[in-house]
Amino acid sequence: MEGILFVLLSVLALGGGLWVLLRRSPVDSALGLLTTMVAIAGHYMLLDAPFLAAVQLIVYGGAVIILFLFVIMLLNLRQDRLRARRLAAGRWVYALAGVAVLFCLAGIFLAGGTSGAVDAGPSGTVEAFGEALFRRWVYPFELTSVLLLAALVGAVALTRHAAPKAEDKA
């Protein structure tokens, strides 16, 4: 049962990823990404980390991808306009970056970096997560808030100056 679910979720996650790459319509790509995110939430569930699964759905599914879709709808990204610019001059840079990421992942994997991550015991509950976060990882947690604040202020400021002329159209 668990094995079947694992394979199913993995296929969904990888398929979603491929969908992101291969579809021309940006909305389709965003939905592919959503599929991947939901499948990963399922994986967290299988790894006995229900809190992470819920967070994955709430933050990535319910917020981040919604933001992507919002931007796509706001900017009017239609597939026929995108086609011209698709994989233009920088394609070799993209390819190189992709290969580099692959090497990094392979390196981590070969070095055994992930071996201890899975069998950490019953640590996926909300209580366990809170204990770890608020005892051991207090400073990173507080720093996160600064990071989030910087991201928000930057993004809001950019939106404001980007297009003051487009106001009041909607």
Binding site: F51, A54, L57, I66, F70, M73
Partner: protein, 359 residues
């Protein structure tokens, strides 16, 4: 193991086919009838079988047959796949949230304890928040795939509204979690079984009054009904689902009514003691002055399940009442209320609750 699976299957079927669907379909009739009563009309009363009318109850059947025998029209300019899945997403997101709501105390049959709840996930209502937030996709997909100006505008309004009020919803719930120290709904219901001075039940509405006042409007905003029906605005500005017809439109409506039921169940569970009856302990009634009334365990269980259902029905009715009483918010008022009034209040509620617990 097999009995466990069979019991779970029975619970799934019971919840879906005995609680959610009948209640949601009944609500379609209640809504029409209630609007009629409030507007001094006779209301839905035309459908009859052999001259029998039963206050128009047959209108439910007539509505069902009508919507499902209508042409299912997919616009040629729409994105066909997304257009077709959008109503399912809404229905699905509304329905699955019911899986973690306890509708009665654990019962004992043949030495086995059976929780009257589909699944006791230990993330509790984080699961509800997670799938509740998936409901936005129904609006996004419907609006975007319709390729229609009105639908797109409606979807933009809808997304903005739903995400704005989702924050308030979450923050209001943090207060409830603070009081009970758990996100599991059975824990929260159990915590509400205690009393102050033996008389006042420790219901969420008394321990977290502000959270309740914030939760109710925020949750109604999530269901996209009046006074928060700006994504849809059926009477004039129309919205994200305007290219839909027939059975798929009916699915949108069914999803909306299921949301009403789920929201009522949540309100009852979080703020009104769930299946708890005031002063009713496992052995019978125990009052604050020491008086007791002994009762058989079976009677107690039945009373508790009945109390949960009664509360759910009450909150369904309350939502319909609100829908036919209030006018619609203007969009700038809507965002102003969400971000500049309710959000600071919700933050304040969390801080004050924590502070009170500290001292």
């Amino acid at each position: 193991m097999l009995t466990l699976i069979l019991i779970s299957l029975a619970k799934v079927v019971a919840i879906l086919l005995v609680i959610i669907l009948p209640l949601a379909t009944l609500l379609t009739w209640v809504e029409r009838k209630q609007s009629a009563v409030m507007q001094d009309r006779l209301g839905a009363n035309r459908a009859d079988i052999l001259g029998l009318r039963v206050w128009g109850l047959f209108n439910i059947i007539a509505d069902g047959i009508k919507s499902f025998s209508k042409e299912d029209w997919v616009p040629p300019f729409a994105n066909r796949f997304l257009f077709n899945i959008a109503p399912f997403v809404g229905l699905f997101a509304a329905m699955v949230t019911f899986a973690v709501i306890p509708f009665g105390p654990p019962i004992h049959i043949a030495g086995q304890e059976i929780a009257l709840q589909v699944a006791d996930l230990n993330v509790g209502f984080l699961y509800i928040l997670a799938f509740g937030s998936m409901g936005v996709y129904s609006v996004v997909l419907a609006g975007w795939s319709s390729n229609n100006k009105y639908a797109q505008l409606g979807a933009m309004r809808g997304i903005s509204q739903m995400i704005s009020y989702e924050v308030v919803l979450g923050l209001a719930l943090v207060g409830v979690v603070l009081v009970h120290g758990s996100v599991r709904l059975p824990d929260i219901v159990a915590g509400q079984g205690e009393h102050w001075f033996g008389w006042i039940p420790k219901w969420g509405v008394f321990t977290q009054p502000l959270a309740f006042l914030l939760f109710l409007p925020a949750a109604i905003a999530e269901t996209k009904r009046v006074p928060f029906d700006i994504p849809e605005g059926e009477s004039e500005i129309i919205g994200y689902n305007l290219e839909y017809s027939g059975a798929k439109f009916a699915l949108f409506l069914l999803g909306e009514f299921i949301e009403i039921v789920v929201l009522s169940a949540l309100l009852a569970t979080l703020f009104f003691g769930g299946w708890q009856v005031p002063w009713l302990a496992d052995s019978g009634f125990v009052f604050g002055n020491g008086a007791t009334v002994e009762m058989a365990p079976l009677v107690v269980t039945v009373l508790r399940i009945a109390s949960f259902l009664l509360k759910v029905v009450f909150f369904c009715w309350l939502q319909l009442l609100i829908r036919w009483t209030l006018p619609r918010f203007r969009f700038d008022h809507l965002l102003r209320l969400g971000w500049r009034e309710m959000l600071p209040l919700a933050l304040l509620n969390v801080v004050v609750t924590a502070f009170v617990m500290l001292s």
